[in-house]
Symmetry: C2
Subunit: 341 residues, 2 copies
């Protein structure tokens, strides 16, 4: 069977319509005929269902750059997995913005009303702006043409931790932390602020509690902790090493605390924070649920780094969340996770 | 027992010398007396072995900034693990450059001639220049004052793969890859170049082989592959998305191939390449040994990212190697791995 290319789409007659659209969900109808997007035509050429498009065979059609090769690879992979799908063209699907392909639930097709995934196709080699994520599945094609699917979402980050630290705590600011001497034991045991200098501190009193600079800055700002030089001294100490990053992390730390979530360092997982949604006491701590990485909201992700974060968070059974901080103080939350369609 | 601080060191008399140096490896002798580095004095104050230094107790001594708090935490941790160790001061130890602490093998001390680890202390929050790594153990103190040890090394990267691809292969350059039609099957099956478009290609002929742009650029440069536009067309295509990074990756790809090591994409592990040291045939492929991340040689590592790479590579039983590319074409190899002292 042969088809023709005009104005960026491939056209074929009634037999093609029956065979491709009615039976297998390719293209859109145009009266008695069928209109195919280039990626669909490429797939039909690859399978041998179409013999040529304007005298081009599969090789010539791909080489003609009519169809991006990445789109073809993802389209083929999703077809191989048993899905019907459509290119996200204006007038072909609802809400095409930000997506390249719209995938229907298994057993459904373009004539139904349901969508399983909105897919954006991206090369391992390119970067993806954080703005473009949150309501699409990222199909990352690696250099060897293998495809990894990353689902992205805008999660609600909140918890039920409810602890009000007492005022009147004092501490010494050192190079990189604040030491509290004979602090209220609750500050650690219920609030999960700091880390005892020795021993596990889960019972009885605590001799010396070490606070991170972020924890200290938060507690000074909230009138709990007094330190020589006040909030400015802690901020200055934090910014000395980290610059603006310290302020971004502090902002996210405060936002998490205000949502009832306890952030602790995520260093061991390569993140800024790991978080606990419901701390009643440190002695009965549950598994931490989220890994949080703090980034400026104009950040562009290298798919390689995104894959690394997602892979590691999956390996430790936590959800990977990015806190994207804007210049105006706004924080938006972005989640990424592995998807097997 | 009391001691005095002068010119950056802490001094005490004969009894201290016997108790601290002779019995437990603190400080250096100075005639009948002992000279202690501030971090050693801080540890003795913390333990209550020293009562004061110039009337300062442990709290006052730490707050006086005589001793960096990070150094104290690492010193204490290594003592807790049963090691004797010395600050890496000029005249105290051989080869102090780049290290903060020198750790003796268990059961040995400063009066012996052996060194187990040279340790550099760094905050989770600071960055570490690649230049400073390769012959030290990095002790990273996280915000909660927990310590992770990362060993760094300058590995010999080499393998025994020995395959000469035939000349006269042709291909089509697409957006992001090169397609070879009816290529010599050996190119994939023995050389492990590319990835078949469909099927596993491990037996018999291959209809279509997909090469990454890096593979294609390498094969064009070596006179194996002919493509319209030649090497420049491939380079241009690679640089379009990646800029200089493409050239760095290509240089490392070529260096690995020339050392008998086969690089394939490391995307799934968040790296640039995974490598196989000894490929005889793809059908009998062994486990890949290294994950390679390509970085400019002036790169400064965030300990968080380093920990992430090391953790993931350990999880998949591969060694993490950084290929540091210099402006002059030189590549130096840096390995990082988790260490439990």
């Amino acid at each position: 069977m042969h088809a023709t290319l005009s104005e960026g789409v491939v056209r074929a007659g009634r037999q093609a319509r029956e065979q491709f659209y009615d039976a297998r969900g390719y293209g859109r109808t145009d009266g008695e005929d069928i209109v195919l997007a280039p990626v669909e035509a490429a797939h039909l050429l690859f399978r041998g269902d179409l013999d040529s498009v304007d005298d081009m065979d599969f090789r010539a059609f791909l080489a003609s750059a009519t169809c991006p090769d990445l789109h073809f690879l993802v389209y083929k992979d999703l077809r191989d997995r048993g899905f019907y799908l459509s290119p996200a063209r204006e007038d072909w699907v609802d809400d095409p913005a930000g997506a390249d392909l719209v995938v229907y639930p298994r057993g459904k097709g373009p004539w139904d009303d349901e969508v399983a995934y909105r897919v954006r196709v991206v090369s391992e080699r390119a970067t993806v702006s954080a703005d473009d994520l949150g309501d699409v599945v990222l199909a990352v094609v690696d250099e060897e043409s293998e495809i990894t699917y990353l689902d992205t979402d805008r999660p609600d980050v909140s918890g039920t931790t409810n602890y009000e630290p007492p005022a009147g705590v004092t501490g010494d600011l050192l190079d990189d932390r604040v030491l509290l001497w004979d602090p209220p034991a609750d500050l650690f045991q219920h609030g999960f602020y700091g880390q005892p200098l020795s021993g596990d501190g889960e019972e009885g009193s605590i001799d010396t509690l070490q606070l991170s600079l972020v924890e200290a800055a938060y507690l000074v700002r909230h009138g709990v902790l007094d330190i020589d030089g006040g909030e400015q001294a802690v901020l200055q100490c934090g910014r000395e090493v980290e610059g603006d990053r310290f302020d971004r992390r502090l902002r996210v730390y405060a936002a998490l605390r205000e949502r009832g979530v306890v952030p602790k360092t995520g260093y061991k997982f390569g993140a800024d924070f790991r978080t606990y949604a419901d701390v009643e006491s440190v002695a009965n701590l549950t598994h931490s649920e989220l890994l949080v990485r703090v980034l400026p909201d104009e950040h562009a992700f290298a798919p390689r780094d995104l894959a690394l974060d997602v892979r590691l968070s999956g390996g430790v059974r936590k959800r990977m969340v990015f806190a994207l901080t804007g210049g105006d103080g706004h924080i938006s939350w972005l989640e990424a996770g592995r998807l097997t369609p």
